[in-house]
């Protein structure tokens, strides 16, 4: 594979900008190059569903799921803001309420184990609580794939390739899942058990890896420019965002 064929995102963007007669905003190119736009605070931003303490809790949960390492973590990426937007502008009222109730349950769990609210426990205690919750939140794959099909990669593929259209991030559809599993009470109980934590994790991953920090610093967006169908994995060395 010749290096000359290797087109970086920056080159691709610049090239496309030329193709488009320069209509691609310079800020897009600058943003893609710098990879630091995620640090810019937005003073105007206000949560619309979550209270300040709930927002803090969501942010803490998300950071435990995707922590800062040598690359940004969920909090750096503002995942809690994305989750507030999903709760406010996307989830149906019933799901939104269920999610907020799930947050209260986190505090109840911490109370039971340590006598204080979740955010008052130590980092190690928080991680232990979440590790236990994570372990009990995933029913067998077959059941999960059937009830929450959109969170399954195969269904995601099927949806997108069935029309050869854009592949994009998909948020699962818990309301419909509950209806689907309604015929089998045991399955429904199984699915209800981990519902909240699965949503927190799913929204954290979605919010993180579709953010500029996740998609450009931790990973890289699959660049436009050329299509190379079969190249050595080591020449890329990471997953596309």
């Amino acid at each position: 594979m010749s290096e000359a064929n290797d087109i970086t995102r920056r080159e691709a963007l610049a090239r496309t900008a030329i193709l488009l007669g320069g209509t691609l905003a310079a800020s897009s190119i600058a943003g893609a190059q710098s990879g630091t736009a995620w640090l810019t605070p937005s003073a105007q931003w206000r949560a619309r569903t979550l209270s300040a303490s709930q927002l803090d809790l969501v942010s803490t949960l998300a950071e435990h799921i995707i922590p800062r390492t040598n690359t940004p973590g969920a909090r750096d990426a503002g995942v809690e803001r994305f989750i507030d937007a999903i709760l406010t502008d996307y989830y149906a009222a019933e799901e939104r309420q269920r999610f907020v109730t799930g947050l209260a349950d986190m505090d109840a769990r911490a109370q039971k184990a340590h006598g204080v609210a979740f955010l008052k426990t130590t980092k190690a205690q928080q991680m232990a609580l979440l590790t236990a919750l994570d372990a009990e939140s995933y029913p067998p794959q077959q059941l999960l794939a059937k009830a929450e099909p959109l969170s399954s990669e195969r269904q995601r593929m099927r949806d997108s390739l069935a029309r050869q259209a854009s592949t994009g991030p998909t948020i699962s559809d818990p309301t419909r899942a509950a209806a689907d599993a309604a015929g089998d009470p045991a399955a429904r109980r199984e699915l209800q058990k981990g519902w909240f934590f699965r949503r927190v994790k799913e929204l954290t991953l979605l919010g993180y890896y579709t953010s500029e920090a996740g998609a450009m610093t931790e990973l890289k967006v699959n660049p436009m420019g050329v299509y190379r169908g079969d190249i050595p994995y080591r020449s890329i060395g990471h997953s596309w965002a």
Partner: protein, 571 residues
């Protein structure tokens, strides 16, 4: 110019999608002053592709799929049923509350509502039909024979393909004829693995890269694809075929085209003295004022269901059941491709292989059932092909299994394993009992809405079993692991209901006999010589391959005929 002169044209084209764009291009290039009427808003090439190349983080919901029960889909209860309806594409779909319809049985009518119609959001897969398709009605006796054969349309396929720019691989198959191809797109390692396995185990089956109306080389002033991925947000470089990129520019260049957006056609006006359509009644969707436009010839390209609605609503004493409907077939024989039955599986290994760039295309497995030889015969008639793709799992896999923290982040940094998925696209039979009619209710413009009554029949249901079984069989034989079949059809419910394939056809079919068909071999109404219908409604059967390139070829052919007839003063 007086108002009267302004309202008179040589030709009127109703609709600006794939067929309407072609009609406008051909008519204007042949010297006719043409009016193109479009129900929806203006969409200017480039400028109005407002989500093109937008990064996910620039969208508040990160380009979420807007499913029916989600906020943001309230005014789109039907459009939101397709997975293509997302934050980044919502503005290119019809707001259902503007044009409702009655659904007797589940039928998902996906519609564009803009200049360019669905050509901006189509799947771009293009396959020529063959005599296996054009002879199908005659051979199994399901419905009246097509009035044309492959030799009639083959030169017109070449004609439109040379303009469109079609990328694909030549296979030399009689039942999937090769076209005028630009170089094919590449397969990835997973697809090459599956291709090798299937072709090794099944004599006569092929896995090829999809044939698409997307440029793999610069072509007629349009740039080669830059592989950004989501074509259906619009493409400023014109790298896929749309009205805006490909048919509107040459039509406008003639100086003879007038485009009239925001104008919905109420009906066609019939002149009983001349036995001709004399005009088109139009309602402005902004002011609700009505106006009549006149022309010597009318091309109806308003989509399969849109055109049927206009024909049925064009009532006169000569045509009490709608214009060009002395046969009574208008609105009947509604078809779509049935899909979402197939299989998926893992491919172990190939971990040192990856891909770069966002290929807006997949693989195709041509039909292998009910071909000429007895060995391919099945208990159902007609056949199906598969579309599919392989890819490596991304970060999304982290959401369906336990794991958190640094270990999860490290794991998701690497690409996951390979998955291969294929889904069948099956031919549906033309059946009289699948039909649309005018409802008693009207829309806000005073036009009766449609009542759609359509469902899959025994042949489609039998075929779906084979679509799933054969998919599982092929992926397993190819060496995929953990292969799972699927069939999303839920009789009486949503999942793989008619309409979802967005390949509606058949509501004003072509045929040899005016008693059993609405159009002749030139897409010309048997009853009304200056009326041509060249969208999906003209199809007498549905084949199993994507239909749009056939609409294009039939449209160019029909215009050629119409203009010759006009010169000969027969129209």
């Amino acid at each position: 110019m007086t108002d009267k002169q302004q309202d008179e044209y040589d030709a009127i084209v109703i609709g600006s999608g794939i067929s309407g764009g072609w009609a406008a291009k051909e008519l204007t290039e042949k010297g006719l002053r043409t009016l193109m009427i479009e129900r929806g808003r203006e969409v200017v090439h480039g400028k109005d592709y407002v989500t093109e190349h937008k990064n996910t983080w620039e969208m508040p919901l990160r380009n979420a799929r807007l499913a029916p029960d989600k906020q943001g889909a309230e005014d789109y209860p039907v459009q939101s049923r397709t997975g293509q309806f997302r934050e980044a594409t919502k503005h290119l779909y019809l707001r259902d509350t503007k044009q409702p319809y009655e659904e007797v049985k589940p039928f998902t009518w996906i519609q564009g509502d803009q200049v360019g119609g669905k050509s901006l959001i189509w799947g771009r897969q293009v396959y020529r039909w063959s005599d296996l398709d054009f002879e199908a009605n005659l051979k199994d006796g399901t419905a009246p024979d097509w009035p044309i054969r492959y030799t009639d349309i083959a030169p017109w396929y070449s004609y439109v393909e040379k303009h469109v720019g079609v990328s694909g691989e030549r296979l030399g198959l009689p039942h999937l004829p090769d076209g005028e191809f630009l170089s094919p797109m590449q397969m990835n390692a997973g697809e090459k693995f599956v291709k090798a396995g299937i072709e090794r185990h099944f004599n006569g089956r092929h896995v090829t890269i999809g044939r698409v109306a997307i440029l793999t080389a610069n072509h007629k002033g349009r740039a080669a694809c830059h592989y950004c991925g989501p074509c259906d947000r619009g493409c400023s470089t014109g790298s896929y075929f749309s009205t805006q990129s490909s048919t509107l520019p040459p039509a406008m260049a003639t100086g003879r085209l007038t485009v009239l957006p925001d104008s919905i056609v109420h009906s066609l006006v019939y002149d009983a003295k001349t036995h001709r359509v004399s005009g088109v009644r139009v309602v402005s969707t902004t002011t609700k004022a009505t106006r009549e436009y006149k022309a010597k010839v009318v091309f109806l390209c308003a989509s399969t269901l849109g055109s049927a609605r206009i024909l049925l609503n064009s009532k006169s004493s000569t045509f009490p059941e709608g214009i060009a409907n002395s046969s009574g077939v208008v609105g009947h024989n509604l078809m779509d491709h049935h899909f979402r039955a197939g299989a998926s599986g893992r491919i172990d290994g190939l971990n040192d292989h990856y891909y770069q760039g966002n290929r807006p295309n997949g693989i195709y497995i041509p039909r292998f059932r009910n071909l000429a030889d007895a060995a391919t015969k099945k208990e159902f008639v007609r056949g199906f092909g598969y579309q599919g793709a392989a890819s490596r799992e991304g970060w999304g896999r982290g959401a369906s299994a336990p794991g958190i923290g640094v270990a999860l982040k490290r794991r998701l940094h690497d690409a996951g394993g390979w998955l291969m998925s294929i889904t069948g696209f099956g031919e549906a039979l033309p059946r009289h009992e699948n039909f649309v009619a005018l409802s008693d209710k009207t829309d806000e413009f005073g036009i009766p809405i449609l009542r759609i009554d359509c469902s899959w029949g025994p042949n489609e249901l039998a075929m779906r079993k084979d679509m799933q079984q054969s998919a599982v069989e092929m992926l397993e034989a190819a060496g995929c692991k953990n292969v799972v079949g699927n069939d999303d059809n839920k009789p009486g419910g949503l999942g793989a209901e008619p309409g979802l394939g967005i390949h509606e056809m058949g509501t004003a079919r072509m045929g040899r006999d005016p008693k059993t068909s609405a159009l002749n071999q030139w897409n010309q109404a048997h009853d009304v010589p200056n009326l041509f219908v060249t969208d999906g409604s003209a199809m007498a059967s549905s084949s199993c391959v994507n239909p749009s390139i056939t609409y294009m070829a039939l449209t160019a052919r029909a215009v050629d005929h119409a203009v010759r007839e006009m010169k000969a003063r027969n129209i």
